[in-house]
């Protein structure tokens, strides 16, 4: 079996990293700049973020490639640099990856709407994802993370593109929020549908990322756990940021987050990590909890 999947299935909870985007912002990524271009122009910054996460206790870090697809890069005029950005991203993460730890290639949405709702043909979406994911494999990623998906059709296309063009294990998550209709994505996809469609498409690990914060993530994991035998991943935001005296502040500090993260762990996740607003301090906290619960098996 693939080493990554072996580790996931060992029964030990794996710790992923926290956010890349908001960490780049802390290091003065200008508003509106292309984060993935930093893999080329500011490699030392990207590398240091990965290193901070490994030092904090991450078993897995995600590459700085969330938006490194042709459709998203086009907004910056970089549509022909997908492979270059992806190769650089994987190599930066691997350069600080300790023995036995993993580098996962991050794959976010295209940002365009699929036909017939929008103008993006299904085949083109497939090609866009395949191009990115092939480059991530070529660079030497251990797995691919399809994340922050809201439209199930697009999510499934991304998973298929990974499965059909590479031999990488696929971790696939969507972004859910609690509303009058329960936990749903903005597109109205509920947890059950997400699990069914991702399973059909061949995802190896299924879960949720981003969203409104750790409280909702607890609810998501609790709803998800009885519905699937597959390993589950949960990567929450540190709440929704507030604008306090001209700076953006995420409300869930490592202290606030700690008990909630523990509850997520006890609700049966296999991989835990953070999304927007979480940093190395959050990850360090979760590592401490995991060590304390070392005897705790799912």
């Amino acid at each position: 079996m693939n080493k990554f999947l072996e580790a996931v299935k060992s029964g030990k909870v794996l710790l992923c990293d926290g956010a890349m985007g908001t960490e780049l912002q802390k290091r003065n990524l200008p508003s509106g700049a292309c984060p993935e271009e930093y893999n080329i122009s500011h490699p030392e910054i990207v590398r240091s973020i990965h290193k901070d996460y490994f030092d904090a206790g991450s078993d897995i870090v995600e590459t700085n490639t969330f938006g490194a697809n042709r459709a998203r890069l086009k907004l910056h005029g970089y549509e022909n640099r997908v492979r270059e950005f992806c190769l650089a991203a994987v190599s930066l993460a691997k350069s600080v990856c300790p023995e036995g730890k993993f580098v996962a290639g991050s794959v976010g949405p295209t940002g365009d709407l699929l036909e017939p709702l929008g103008n993006l043909p299904e085949q083109e979406a497939y090609d866009i994802f395949a191009e990115q994911i092939k480059a991530l494999e070529e660079g030497g990623a251990d797995a691919v993370y399809v994340e922050t998906m809201m439209a199930v059709e697009e999510a499934v296309i991304a998973v298929k593109a990974a499965k059909e063009n590479t031999s990488l294990p696929v971790v696939a998550s969507m972004t859910f929020e609690l509303g009058n209709a329960g936990l749903r994505t903005m597109w109205g996809v509920d947890i059950k549908t997400s699990i069914e469609k991702y399973s059909e498409a061949g995802a190896d690990v299924i879960g949720a990322n981003c969203g409104k914060g750790f409280d909702e993530m607890i609810a998501i994991v609790k709803e998800m756990r009885p519905l699937t035998q597959k390993p589950i991943i949960a990567q929450s935001n540190a709440g929704i940021p507030e604008w306090i005296h001209g700076i953006s502040v995420y409300t869930e500090t490592p202290e606030v987050m700690s008990p909630k993260a523990e509850e997520i762990l006890k609700s049966g996740v296999n991989i835990i990590g953070g999304c927007c607003g979480t940093g190395p301090a959050h990850i360090k906290r979760i590592r401490e909890i995991l060590d304390r619960l070392a005897d705790y098996h799912i």
Partner: protein, 219 residues
Amino acid sequence: MTVELLKELSDAVIDGNKDKSVELTNKLLDLGMNAKDILDNGLLPGMEVVGIRFRDNIIFVPQVLISARAMKSSLALLEPLLSKAELKGSGTVIIGTVKGDIHDIGKNIVAMMLRSSGFSVIDLGIDTRAEKFLDAIKKENAEIVGMSALLTTTMGYMKTVIDRIKEENILVKVMVGGAPISKAFADQIGADGYAKNATDAVKLAKSLIGIVTKEETVE
């Protein structure tokens, strides 16, 4: 008979049935109904229901977009028949996502609901700089400018735009929105209004327009 057809037209918009809404619009025109009445009593009430259902999580983004398409197709038939005054309707709104931000799904829905409520809307798209907002406000003599931001790193730019508007003494009402925006933030930066969702955005725009009239606008 026409009352029933109008109701069917509303339903076609709500269901996002484009072919049906086009067919019904043509039928009503053939029956001699005027374009403005079809808009006000068929298309708009349908879109209003869509807005409310979206706000209440009964429907989600895809259904809103499908309804919007049905509404647009019908509107395309009516537009040549509407007078300039009717087209302008309640007033002109300039809308855009601010500089550095490419999130446009919410902004598009707001633009569409404003259009559906009789506003003339000029959409500047994403990543919009202050100059572009100002130029458009002046050129269109707009009553309202709407700014959208989804990132905490870009919401501050709304203040930059508002400051420029004040500097140049442009009389235009400013409304802001987007997931991280709050009423408190809107007040802090000197916006005239904030709305949490597209349905409220329409209400807000209407209340703002009650205050400004074209004559007051100076350039």
